[in-house]
Every structure is written in structure tokens, then in C-alpha cells.
């Protein structure tokens, strides 16, 4: 019994002490269709066929809550993000590097080659924003004209001796708008 007591004495105070660190809490939570305002469901059905299976999410933190719809169409993942006034903020669509226009690909590759010793692209999303009618035209017919195009790219970049995981936002030309370091949650539970 002394081992059990010793273990509990060691484990719990450490956890409670470590828990006191405050985190800015931001949660993306799956919600049911019933919880989604009707205007948002209407907007999504204008963008995609009614039969498309849609998963709804709500992103919350202390000061705001946004809705987001995720779906797969023609084996491609789409994510539609709404602003607080329920307008479409942007649509993000997964692409491969070799699907990007030459201009974008050259610009993005040039950025990576000149800023990192080596790099690995993990995910590319085309970020489309603009007039709602134009977004409908893209979702229904694939026409991308007159929409603002940016790329959201998750990548590993080697700086010196270290690999850092980033999310970068790039213009259509391939120039960097901004980037942020993605802090991954602890993986000790699946590594040790």
C-alpha cells in the first residue's frame, strides 16, 4: 500500500501545480445542424448542392464565436468560415502544390528556398474571399475570377539546427503576408 500512497503523493500535487499556468482557451467544437442559424444553412446550400454532407463547427474564445462548415466535394476538403454578421468570411480549399498556378508556385518555392535550409510542406489551403455571387460561381463552376486568392500553408522549416512548424499566409504572387509558429500539444502520451 505504501507504493500506492507514494505514487499518489508524487503525481497529484505536480499536476495541480502545473495546471495553474493560464492558457488562452480557444475551442473548435462540433455542433449539430439544429444549433446552426438558418441563414448560414441557406448560404451553404447556395454554395453547394443540398445533398452534400456538411459538418458544422463553432469556434469560441472569451470574446467571440464563429461558425464554420466543413465538407468534402469531389475528394477535396472545403471549409467555409463565417464572420460574426453571418457573412462568408472566406472559403478554404485543400490543394496540392502541383495544382497551383506557376506564378504562385514559383513565388512560394522561392520564399522557402531563400529563408530555410530545408523545408517540408504539410498542407496547402487556397483561401478565397470576395463577393458572395463570385464564391457561388467558384463552388458551382470552379471559376475563380475576381476572387481574392491567398494560400494558407502549414510547413516545417529548418532554421539552423532546428525544425520549426509554421502556418504561413501567402499572397497569390507567393509573397509572405505573415507566419506564426504552431505550438503542438504534448505528444509524450503517444511517444513514451
Amino acid at each position: 500500500m505504501k507504493f500506492l500512497t507514494l505514487t499518489l503523493v508524487l503525481v497529484f500535487p505536480t499536476v495541480l501545480w502545473a495546471q495553474q499556468e493560464s492558457d488562452k482557451i480557444e475551442i473548435e467544437e462540433r455542433i449539430s445542424e439544429k444549433e446552426v442559424p438558418a441563414i448560414l444553412k441557406k448560404r451553404v446550400t447556395e454554395l453547394f448542392a443540398k445533398s452534400t454532407k456538411i459538418k458544422w463547427y463553432q469556434e469560441k474564445n472569451e470574446s467571440y464565436q464563429n461558425y464554420e462548415a466543413k465538407l468534402v466535394k469531389d475528394k477535396r476538403r472545403y471549409s467555409i468560415e463565417f464572420d460574426t454578421l453571418f457573412n462568408v468570411k472566406d472559403i478554404e480549399v485543400e490543394y496540392d502544390m502541383n495544382e497551383l498556378p506557376d506564378e504562385s508556385r514559383k513565388g512560394i518555392t522561392g520564399y522557402f528556398e531563400s529563408n530555410f535550409d530545408s523545408y517540408k510542406i504539410r498542407r496547402i489551403q487556397l483561401q478565397l474571399s470576395g463577393d458572395f455571387e463570385r464564391l457561388i460561381n467558384y463552388c458551382k463552376n470552379g471559376l475563380i475570377d475576381q476572387l481574392k486568392i491567398r494560400y494558407e500553408i502549414e510547413f516545417e522549416g529548418k532554421e539552423g539546427d532546428s525544425f520549426i512548424y509554421y502556418e504561413g499566409l501567402f499572397e497569390k504572387s507567393g509573397s509572405l503576408v505573415n507566419k506564426r509558429h504552431i505550438v503542438l500539444s504534448t505528444s509524450d502520451n503517444i511517444s513514451y
Binding site: T14, S187, D188, N189
Partner: protein, 228 residues
Amino acid sequence: MHRISITIIFLFWCTGVLAQSEVVYGGFFPEMAISKNLNTNYTATFKLESQHGQFYDDESTDTNYDYFHDRTDLQGFLSRNLGAFVKVAVGYQYRLEETDPNNHRSIQQIAVIQRLFGLRLGHRLRLDQTFFENEKNQYRIRYRLSSEIPLQGTNLDVSEYYFIASEEIIYGVQADEDDIENRFTMAIGNLVSKKIKMELGLDYRTDRIISPGDRQRIWLKFGAFLTL
């Protein structure tokens, strides 16, 4: 709902299978890992695992429900990142056992994390060598596949719950005997903060699959994983 069904099926399956084994025991199994990043590439990790038996059953006696301490492992690792999702580590373990002399173990491993949509997979390939006082050394190779699934969104956010399951196969050689061990776990966890995870679940182990005297152990496991 699917996950709850899987859990229920697993529990019924365990109940049936446990009854068929020569040696069956289990109880409470707390574990805790504390990691400290030494710089951007190197991390030191201390891990404590402790198994506390609450029941013991073999073919010769009725089930005994007296408490017993089975073992406590003290582990230390030094890991190096080979990328954002790949790290290699070397480690040392000191095991305190109730019935046998304590022993030493050296460990080498590579761990790879795969981020998929709504899921995180962990692959771990490990070699270990155990040095006993009264027995020949034991050499093992083991592979573990883990999957971590957020229960609320597509990414695991702070304060969110997740489901985690793992399956590990271990092949070991000691003197002229070899053996296979299987370990299956499932748990519900919570990402308390970016640096803290806590889990509660079941750990089911079957060993002596090749060698005689098959043994099964089932543990109620509580895990805490902290990064300083």
C-alpha cells in the same frame, strides 16, 4: 456512439478471454511523464509507472483480492527532434519489483507522429535490453501504433476531451527462449493546457504467448503528461 460500443465490446471480450488464462491479475496503474525542453532540439523526460495489484488468479487458487505492489518503473529519456514530428530517444529504466530483484534496462526508440484530418497517429519503434541479477539478459523489439481522436472538433484544443487507443506488439528473446507480448490500451483524455494531458483508461496485456504459462493483466490506468 461507435466509440462507446467499441468500449463495451472490448470489456465483454476481456471478461471472456481473461477467464481462459492460466494467470490473470490486474489493478491500478498510475503513470506520469514530465518533460523539459533543453533547447529547440533536445528534451529530457522523466517517467514513473507503477502497477498495484487488486486481484490475482491462477489455476491453483481461488481469486485473491489482497492488495500487492507488482512493480514500479523509473525511466529517464533524452530525445532529439529530427523534424517537427519525428524524434529519436535513448533511455534508462530502473525497475523495482516486489517478488524478484530489481533490474536495469536500456532503451532506444524512434517516434513518428502523423497528423491526419481529425486524428493523430503515433508510431513508435523501440528496442530495449534488460539486465537481470539472476537471469540472462533479455532483448526486445517492439512496435506501437497509437491513435488520438479529439471528441469535439477536428483539432485537439485546450480543455477538450479525446479518445486514445494503442496496440503494441513486443517480441523478446532471453537465453534460448523467445516470446511475444501484446498490449492494447484505450482511454479518455483531456488536454488540460497546451502542456498537460491527463488520461483514464484500460491497459490490457497478454504475454507468454509462445512460452508456456500464458498470462494476462488488465489495469485501470491513470496517466498525467506534463511539459515544463
